[in-house]
Symmetry: C5
Subunit: 97 residues, 5 copies
């Protein structure tokens, strides 16, 4: 999984029928402290994440293992909102800080 920050969302009218009703968020991978790095990608939100949240994303065929994405043409999913990150014994990110 990747640590990623939700930065926005996409809207599409013309799409595969199995995507109707799915929230497609724009995210960017971060480092272990939550700082964004690299190119953005789009993931289906299955946990009601919001813009600004730090989340875990899952890619590939594993992205189809949630109830909302089964048999759907999606290759990335947000499956967790991160509360905290601990590196070498120190809390380096806390959602409520």
């Amino acid at each position: 999984m990747l640590i990623a920050r939700v930065i926005g969302n996409t809207v599409s009218t013309v799409k595969d029928e199995r995507l109707v009703g799915r929230k497609l968020m724009i995210v960017r991978q971060t480092d272990e402290y939550g700082a964004p790095q690299g190119k953005p990608f789009v993931a289906v939100d299955t946990v009601d994440a919001g813009v600004g949240d730090l989340v875990l994303t899952c890619s590939g065929s594993s992205a189809r293992q949630t109830n909302q994405t089964k048999d759907t043409p999606v290759d990335a999913v947000i499956m967790s909102v991160i509360d905290s990150l601990t590196v070498d014994g120190k809390t380096v990110f806390s959602k409520n800080a």
Copy 2:
């Protein structure tokens, strides 16, 4: 999924029989504002996208989850035409703008 722009298409006579009748578009990944970045790749168009359109592409085994690509040797598919992109609360791309 990746945000990508359709830049062209490919034509092939010699190909796997399951690809007959499929539209193979050349796309390039973009950043969250729709600006192309990185190398081109080829994706099967399932939503009648046109050159210049901003689209979402899905890769890997998930690319075989559309009606048009089931059991087909393809690893990337266009499954949505993007109407708009919103980043940090601002609309940064709109198809009809």
Copy 3:
């Protein structure tokens, strides 16, 4: 799929039994004009491509969706020989040019 140019081939005596009789070509990804870029990789040829041909390659589990590669430990396949590439309305590559 990737646009790639066939640059050579590999020969192996010691190999998984399901690879016997398969042609293993060395290819390099190209840009949208057919110019090679990046590292080489090896793909099973299913369309009788030759050295110098511009082809489409398919990777991952989708590479096992051809009759010749079903249930085989291969992760890349050549599934099409490219006749032409069109970018922004112009033909930028033609096999017979």
Copy 4:
């Protein structure tokens, strides 16, 4: 598989139900001597690895082949703690050294 070092962990309350009770560790890929390189990612720990351990991680659909990750939306798993690494006949890493 990648050689990686465990550098920390993540805590999440809001997550896919199949992730409840799973340990999600932050790891970084290393070179063949155990020196970290590149971006961090998150892997499910199936072998009770600790922070500082050098481990092997497995990605993609193969990450769902352990008893703890079957049918779960995860794309990376720690499936081994490394005792030693040998390169060109020399032991370059030993856990108990």
Copy 5:
């Protein structure tokens, strides 16, 4: 598949039970002439390759298509020892040279 050189091996006591008895080799991707490039990774050896051998590796779900790796949490396998590489009609690598 990638062209890779076997540079060493890993030893693990604590590991997923399906890995018991498997040889886990450290390899590095090479260019089309056999010169190592990029980061090392670990692949299950299914063809009795030795350190120094040039091999083909297969990644992802396809790595589970050998008799030794079926239903196993591994994402890379050595499935061939390379005898020779030919590029643009010239033999650029020969095992017995």
